[in-house]
């Protein structure tokens, strides 16, 4: 559900979360990204960091400089002033991917679980080829960046193309870097070798986290993804994978990124025309929100 008014959650003495709802919802994320931009343009005293995610904006602040009530008051004013969100800056990014790759298969085998691509296909009543087709058929909206360095969460912008699969019941102790994976309907990429529970279905040759910052795209930050990006995946062959990987390792790969704006109002109108509900409701639920 989407709350009538955002809820300010206390996170002990140095942080608070502004929670807009309890569900995954791209239009809800537009509000969070718009608020994040408004804060960046006009930061309240004592505010140190923001962490925009799909349904919540995280705030880190210095309680020796401001008080929680003063900060909440300044943030409430910014929320009030947001108005209708018309457009948001949104980069278009092409991500090449080798689907149904040997590393995903080997990793699943090493942990004694069945081939993840087969499982994803079965879970979505598809063939593996249809999974690849669905995953490359629409843009994925990046709702937030984080978890481990460079990781991100993204969701299919076309609800008719939305696929996914549940996380492993017991997470793996390692996963090779750069594997594409689903956790529910969240589509993401492991930036580095990490533990994890996502269902593995492909590998990208491009770095999405580069601590050495060799490639020009990493000049300002070792992290590639930005909240508000639109990712479009392109299926490549093993030979193309090897070629791109060699360029990435040489630091010469040219990332396919274009600056753009998303017309949020138009997107929301399109979702409505598809009959998508604006929020999810369960009338039988008795859970409180606070």
């Amino acid at each position: 559900m989407i709350y009538q008014k955002p809820i300010f959650r206390t996170m002990a003495d140095t942080a608070l979360n502004i929670e807009f709802g309890d569900e995954t919802n791209i239009p809800l994320n537009f509000k969070i990204l718009a608020l994040d931009s408004a804060i960046a343009a006009n930061p309240p005293s004592g505010l140190l960091e923001t962490n925009p995610q799909v349904r919540t904006l995280g705030i880190v602040y210095n309680p020796l400089v401001t008080t929680r009530p003063n900060l909440i008051s300044a943030l409430s004013d910014l929320i009030e002033s947001l108005g209708k969100i018309v457009k948001l800056p949104s980069r278009k990014v092409i991500i090449p991917a080798l689907y149904d790759d040997p590393w995903s298969r080997e990793c699943a085998a090493a942990f004694g679980v069945r081939d993840n691509m087969e499982y994803i296909a079965e879970f979505n009543h598809m063939t593996p080829a249809q999974v690849i087709e669905a995953h490359t058929a629409c843009d994925y909206w990046v709702t937030g960046v984080g978890f481990v360095p460079g990781a991100f969460m993204s969701y299919a912008m076309d609800p008719r193309r939305r696929i996914g699969a549940p996380l492993y019941r017991t997470p793996r102790s390692w996963t090779p870097a750069r594997l594409l994976n689903f956790g529910g309907t969240t589509s993401t990429i492991y930036p580095i070798r990490v533990p994890g529970g996502g269902q593995l279905f492909g590998r990208t040759p491009i770095n999405i986290f580069e601590p050495e910052q060799r490639n020009a795209i990493f000049k300002d930050s070792p992290v590639f993804a930005k909240a508000g990006d639109r990712h479009r995946y392109v299926s490549i062959s093993r030979d193309e994978y090897n070629d791109i990987r060699a360029e990435v390792e040489a630091g010469t790969y040219e990332y396919q990124v274009s600056e753009d704006l998303l017309d949020c109002a138009e997107y929301i109108a399109w979702l409505e025309s598809l009959g998508e509900p604006a929020e999810k409701r369960d009338p039988g639920s008795s859970w409180l929100t606070e």
Binding site: T10, M11, A12, D13, T14, A15, N17, E19, D22, E23, T24, L48, E49, T50, N51, P52, Q53, V54, R55, T56, L57, G58, V60, N62, P63, L64, R68, G144, V145, G146, F147, V148, P149, G150, A151, F152, M153, P166, L167, G184, T185, T186, I192, V194, F209, P211, S221, P222, V223, A227, K280, R281, D282, G284, S285, S286, W287, L288, T289, E290
Partner: protein, 337 residues
């Protein structure tokens, strides 16, 4: 320079950590017991840096020595201090006092044994450990393989550069923390907590049990998360059905959400609450019953595996008061010659 003869169980270069990484997935890292590292730096005349997360500057880098086993040799005369856990430190076999600055002469060996009390000792050296800063800090983040010394824990044979010493460094030898301010690390710890963002989703009796239990630290704990063994906690009935798809079938699953930078207490499936440490992920997908106050992340860092901790609920205002009280102690007036 400082030569590593034995790296010990897990020793890393740490300062007070990085800022600005929450929106990138980059954790603050830094000392798990910031109080101990900052006092060690003050004793040897280094900038102590500001408090965890909200600091203006990360201070000088020292070593965080976990549980046991570091052995180092001085490449020149160094003013040093050890604070935090009691690892039975000796210089060429002679025990040395903790929370006190002293000269480690060129060629002398400083060795740490097993933890008698506490879990993490800190070693500060006048001039600081001069590894290159990464994203504004010298803190090591081992999982990300960046910061500190080559982005990893120290190994035998590593040579650590030390920043330039001031001329007056020898005159600081013998300074110590006022005895009444030296923390004592017992077998049972008290950790203060502010009620968490999803506390209302737990059954009332489970929330009561959370604060009434002596939780045992699981040995499978580290700077990413400290896991506590105790009773299973339950969730209220009436969960919205759409969360099965949105967040997962387990009642502890929530749609992913920012954590506080440190200290959130997640309870996956209601078992083994996890206190997220300084190397923790920037987002989470499990209900959080509470958040440890920033000051008490120091205590979290000193609990040994299998020791017990009680969580004590306090108000947000009392948490800020605790922070102010701690900051007043990070000062020359806390030291005596």
């Amino acid at each position: 320079m400082l030569e590593i003869i034995k790296g010990g169980l897990h020793t890393t270069v740490q300062d007070m950590g990085r800022q600005g990484g929450q929106c990138l997935g980059i954790p603050p890292s830094g000392a798990q017991d910031g109080f101990a590292l900052r006092i060690a730096n003050l004793l040897v005349g280094n900038p102590p840096g500001g408090p965890l997360i909200i600091r203006d500057d990360p201070g000088a880098a020292g070593l965080e020595i976990t549980m046991a086993g570091l052995k180092v040799r001085a490449g020149s005369d160094l003013l040093v201090a050890t604070t935090g856990a009691d690892l039975g430190a000796t210089v060429d076999g002679t025990p040395i006092p903790r929370w006190q600055a002293f000269m480690l002469r060129r060629g002398q060996q400083l060795a740490f044994g097993m933890a008698a009390s506490g879990a993490r000792a800190y070693l500060a050296i006048h001039g600081g450990i001069d590894v290159p800063p990464y994203l504004g800090s010298r803190a090591t983040h081992v999982r990300g393989r960046f910061g500190g010394f080559k982005g990893r824990a120290l190994l035998a044979g590593d040579i650590l550069p030390i920043g330039r010493a001031g001329s007056a460094s020898e005159t600081l030898a013998g300074r110590r923390l006022r005895p009444e301010l030296v923390p004592s690390y017992g077998r049972e710890h008290q950790v203060r907590v502010v009620r968490g963002p999803e506390a209302h989703l737990f059954k009332a009796e489970s929330e009561t049990a959370f604060y009434a239990t002596a939780w045992k630290l699981n040995p499978r704990s580290d700077r990413t998360g400290m896991r506590f063994i105790g009773p299973e906690l339950g969730f209220r009935p009436g969960r919205p059905s759409y969360l099965n798809e949105e967040a997962g079938a387990d009642p502890s699953n929530i749609v992913i959400d920012p954590g506080a930078p440190v200290g959130t207490i997640q309870v996956p499936s209601g078992v083994e609450p996890i206190v997220l440490g300084v190397d923790a992920p920037s987002v989470g997908g499990y209900a959080r019953i509470g958040v440890v106050i920033s000051t008490d992340m120091s205590i979290i860092g000193q609990i040994q595996p299998l020791q017990h901790a009680f969580f004590v609920q306090i108000s947000h205002d009392d948490a800020v008061t605790a922070l102010k009280r701690q900051e007043a102690l990070i000062s020359q007036s806390s030291l005596v010659s």
